[in-house]
Structure formats: structure tokens, C-alpha cells
Amino acid sequence: MLDAAIVLANFVVIPALSYGSLLALGALGVTLVYAVLRFANFAHGDTMSVATMMAIYCTWWLQSLGIDFIRPLPTALLAIPFAALGTVGLLLVIDRLVYRHYRQAKAPPITLVIVSVGVMLILHGLSRMIIGVDEQRFFDGGRFIVSAGEFKEWSGLKEGLAIKSTQVIAIVSAVTLMAYLFYFLQRTRTGKAMRAFADNEELALLSGIRPQKIVTSCWILVAVLAAVSGTVYGLDKVYKPFTYFQLLLPIFAAAVVGGMGSPVGAILGGYLIAFSEIGLTYAFKRVAGHLLPPSWVPDGLLQLISTDYKFAVSFTILVAVLLLRPTGLFRGQAS
């Protein structure tokens, strides 16, 4: 019984929690842009990619300096603030050069979506050009917080529980960042102004809120979210420009499922997508092996959908939600 729970935690719950945390951060980035600037930002995946690239270079630099006082934590954590700063600068420059023109011309949202596709291509090309298409590993420090062997010894169970340090980092950093984001949106003057602007732009203008300030703070938040989620994802899995481009879809899925424009929705959507992706493609045979008498355990893997379709799961959920309830499960901004 306990063994079954451990297997489940090991292969479903913990990976889904850490993956879901990162999806949630990504979806928050998409949803903020949607709420404040009112378009679906196709460039977000590649923004994360460029941010991560900055973090990787910065990590290498710190490593070459021999700075490792935060062992056993990975050096990359020290690099995140620098990457975030760099991303803030990048996004503000892009906004000034690209988006601002269309905002002032009051272009329809669809134009902005196409524009963001252009930005996506440029960022994607830049990351390929600068760091290359290959996988980059920049993780150092301790791999495991709890290793399977230690756990078995300690608990005396047949199954071991392994918790990777990157999984814990993902969950902790996501929760911290989300907490800060909600504090910012709910408690600070600028955060409230941002929500007011997202709610009713004309009235916000009548109240003296300057749109440029809101837009700037929105991009700053998006940059920080992208830097943290991108870097931690790279630590946990691996960094590769194309993978980050592909992350765009599960992120969109999370944002849409939660309701575009709703921060709470984005977070719940992130976990929902992560749990269904991992849960539906996990072979439950090992769990069943601990729960059922040996003669009852079926021959098959007890896997609902083959792992090949991991990504497809989130897209299918996305499409289903779009069709049945386009405002998202948690009521985002309706048309």
C-alpha cells in the first residue's frame, strides 16, 4: 500500500508538481500580456529561451570565476537575477521598437499576434545563432535531495523515493514568485493600477493612470517570470532552443484552460495540464503491482495513452476547453 503511494509520488506527483510549477509561471507570463496588452503572445516561449541563454552564459562565467558558495545549490540560481535584468532590457527594447507603434495606432489584436510571431522568429533565430541548436547542460551541485537508496534504507520499504534538487527548486521558486506576484497585484499601487488597466482601459485613463507605465511594469514582470521559469526548466530538464519554442503550446494550453487574462487560472491551468500529461501517459502497472494480489495484475502496462502523446494530451485538453468553455475553466477575460 505505502509502496504504491511512493511509486505514485515518485513518478507522477512530484514530477507533475515541478513541471506544473514551471508551466504555471509560463502561463502567468502569457496571461499578463493578454490582460494588459490584449494579445496572445506567441513569442513567450522564445523569450524564455533567450532569458535562459543569458542565465547559462552567466552561470558559465560565475563557474569560471569559481564562485560556488551556494553549494549544493546550482550556480545558475545566482545567475537568474542577471538574466532577469537582461530580459527586462530586451523586452523593453522590443516594446519600444515593435509593439508601441501598434498600441498607439490601436491596431486590432490579431495584428499584434502576427507581430509577436515576427518577434518569436527573431528571438528563436538569435538563440540558435548565439548558443547553437545543441543541448546545453549547466547544472552543477547536488543531484538529489533524497535518493532512492537512502530512502529505502531509512523507511525499509521496497520502493525508493527520489527527489531531485531541481524539482524542489522548481516548486519553491515558482511558489515564491507566485506569492510575490499576487502580493504585487493585490497590494501595491502599481499592481492595482495594472489590474484596473486590464479591467477597463478607458476608465483607467480617466483616473490618470499612464498606460506606458503599466505596459513597462507588465514587461518587467513577464521578463522575471520568463527568466525564472526558463532557467529552472533548463536545470531540471535540458536547455535547447527548439524545446523552448515547443513549450509555447503547453503554456498556451495552461493559460487558456485557466482562462486567458486570469492569473489564478493560469496557475491552476499549469498544474492541471502537467498532471494530465504525466498522469495519462504513466504506466500504472507498478502501482497496481503493489495494490493487487499478484495473480490479478494485468499483463499490459496499464498506460492510458502512450508516452509519445505526452504533448498531444495538453493540446487535446486545450482544444476541448476552447470548444466547450472558451472563457476558460476559471473565467478569464471574455471577448
Partner: protein, 432 residues
Amino acid sequence: MSGRDRVYFVLCLLLIIGVGIFQSWNVALTMINFALISAILSLGLNIQWGFGGLFNVGIMGFVALGGLAVVVVSAPPVEEAWRAGGWRVLSALFVAVLAIGGSLFVWKRWRPKKYGAVSLVVFLTMAFVLYRFLFDPAVLAIEKVNPALSGFLGGFNLPVLLAWPVGGLLAAAAAMMIGHIALGLRSDYLAIATLAIAEVLVAILKHEEWLTRGVKNVTGLPRPVPYEVDLQQSIWFQEWASQLGIDGIEASSLTVKLCYMVLLIIVLALIFTLCQRALNSPWGRMMRAIRDNERAASVMGKDVKRRHLQIFVLGSAVFGIAGAMMTTLDGQFIPSSYQPLRFTFLIWIMVIVGGSGNNWGAVLGGLLIWFLWIQVEPIGLATIDFLTKPLHPTSPLRVHLIDSAAHMRYVMMGLFLLLVLRFRPQGLIPER
């Protein structure tokens, strides 16, 4: 077409001739062939976006379906695989279709009743178990049949040219289903939905090995034109080549490419004529009216929903045809080669740069952007090589820059798109 528009096309032609002279005619012809297919894709998107204002970001999926059509139509059948589990797979798919149809029926019938949702879940679970019971062993059996060479069901061994219209029909059928459910969405949601659906389609093609061999690819697909080897060995061809004074091997490869080119031009001309006729007719007028103002068009008696579905299906059929042509040209079906950057976003750049709403513009965009897509790399390489000449040949910066030139195309494409959107939003050849 105005004088300036002609200049654009002449410019395209000159660029390609330049490639022929400075690189090689073989390269130039390959480029032309793919540029022609790009022009067809771009026409397809122009039907959807330019005529009707539908924001479809799922082009890749329909192109891939067109590629699948080539496999299904023209690959030789694998008898052993059919015996091993072909019929069982088909019956599993039949069960799946029945289950989906049945669940829709149950949902409609029982939803108001108390146990509607429960009965639906029970029904679906049963259907799923049955489906997996039929499907899994069959797939295993098929994929075991000589996995290094086949391991899939194969096709019908029919002439490959037949695959082109079949690809169109397959894509149209898929578009019909997708359109029925997705076209009611707002434009940006439609974009996300189509992007996702295309990914799912390609994921299926990538992983259903019994159908497509998956990552093992289907190679050696038949051709509508002669093989180089046969040409080289035939006496009349050798004589003809020596008369022209060209090397036999090069002559054969040029001839094959020219044959393809003729076929492609025929198809492009056909689709273009149909597009032009449609656009310059009351049908085109109605479509543009719907695009401009759906509400007013519906009050003026136009059935907006049906028309949207019509152009969605039509444009997707064109993608399917182009996809089949591309797979034929490659001679192989590589599911993992379908990437949204290449098959969806690049087509969007073609239409927007060329001029959406104008068929000439779409064709121009297809030709021009394809040229740039291919040539940005050598041009970039030459530029970097020239600029970094002063550096030592093994200096890390120079090596890195030269390595990265290959990826400049994405940056350049993004830049083109942004520049055109900003300074010439109506495209090179505007709607009218």
C-alpha cells in the same frame, strides 16, 4: 497587374537565374521547384486569410496529411502486415468512430436526464477498453513484420499522381471536421486551437508506426517522372545529352527536375486560375464582404458560418495538395520533418510580405520568401566570412560566427515580417 508588380516578378526570375549562373542550375531548379510549391501553399493561405480573414496557424497539419496521402496511395502494400493485423487495426478504428459517434448520440439524448454524464463515461470507458483490446496486439503484430524494411501496412500501389488530389481530399475532410468545431472561436483563440490541432496531427503521424513507419520514415516512394539512372542508361538520352554537350549525369538530373517543374507549374497555374476566378466573382465579393464585416454580411443575407467553413476546407485542400506534391518531390515521407516554423509560420510570412488578399501577391511572396529562406544562409556566410577576414581563421569568434550563419534565416524572416508589417502593411502587391 501593374507595371511595378511585373518588376517584382522579373526580379524573382533574375534572382533565380543568378543562382543558376553563380551556383549551379541544379540548385536553381531545386529552388524553383520548392518555390513553386511554396507559392501554392501561399495561395492556400491567401484563400483563408486574404479572402476570408480566418487565422489558421495549423497549416503544417494539413501539409503532413497530404504527405500521408502519398504513402497511402502509392506505397506498395505489405501483404504480410495486412495478414498480421491489418483488419484488426481497421476494426479497432471502426470501433473508435462508432464510439465517438455513439457518445455524441448519448450526450444529445441523455444530457438532460439524471445519469447522462455517468452513462457517457461508462460508455466511453467500455469503448476505450474494446478499442485497446483490438488495437494494441494488431499494432504490435504489424510492427513486428520485418521492422527494418517495412513494419507498416503500406499503401495501395497506385500511381503517385493520384495522391495529389487524394491529399487534397484528405486534408479537406480533416478541415471539415476541425472547422465544424473550431471556427466559432475568436481569431486569436482560433490561432491557438489550430496550432494545437496541427501538432496533434503530426504527433499521430510521427508515432503511429503501423501507418507511417514513424521516425523510420517511408523512403523510396514512386515517382511521376523517370529516374535519373534509367535516363543515363537509355541510348537516346545519352545521344541527346552529348549533342547538347552536357555531362550525362548532370543532364539526367536536370531533366528530372525540369519534368517536375512542368508538373508543378501546371498545378500552380490551375489553382491560381481557380483562385483568380473565384476572387473576381460575386463569390469573392461576398467573401471579402464577410471578412470586412461579419455582422452586416449576415444581415445582408450571407450565411457567414457556412462560408467560413467553405474557405477553411478549400484552403486546407490546397495545403493537402501541396503537401502531397512536396512528399512526391522528396521521394520520401519524413514525419519528424514537419515543423511549425517551416510549414506554418514561413507560409504566413509569404502571404503577408506578398500581399494578403491578392493572388499575385501570394504567389510573389511564395517565390520571393522561398528564395530568401534558402539564400540567406550562403549570403550570410559570405558576409560573415568577408567581415571576419581580418581575424585569424581559427579565432573562436570567427568560427562561432561562421557556425551561426546557418541560423540567420530565422532572424531575417522575423525582420522581413516586422518591417513589412510596419512600413507596408498591405504587402508588396496590395489587395487592389
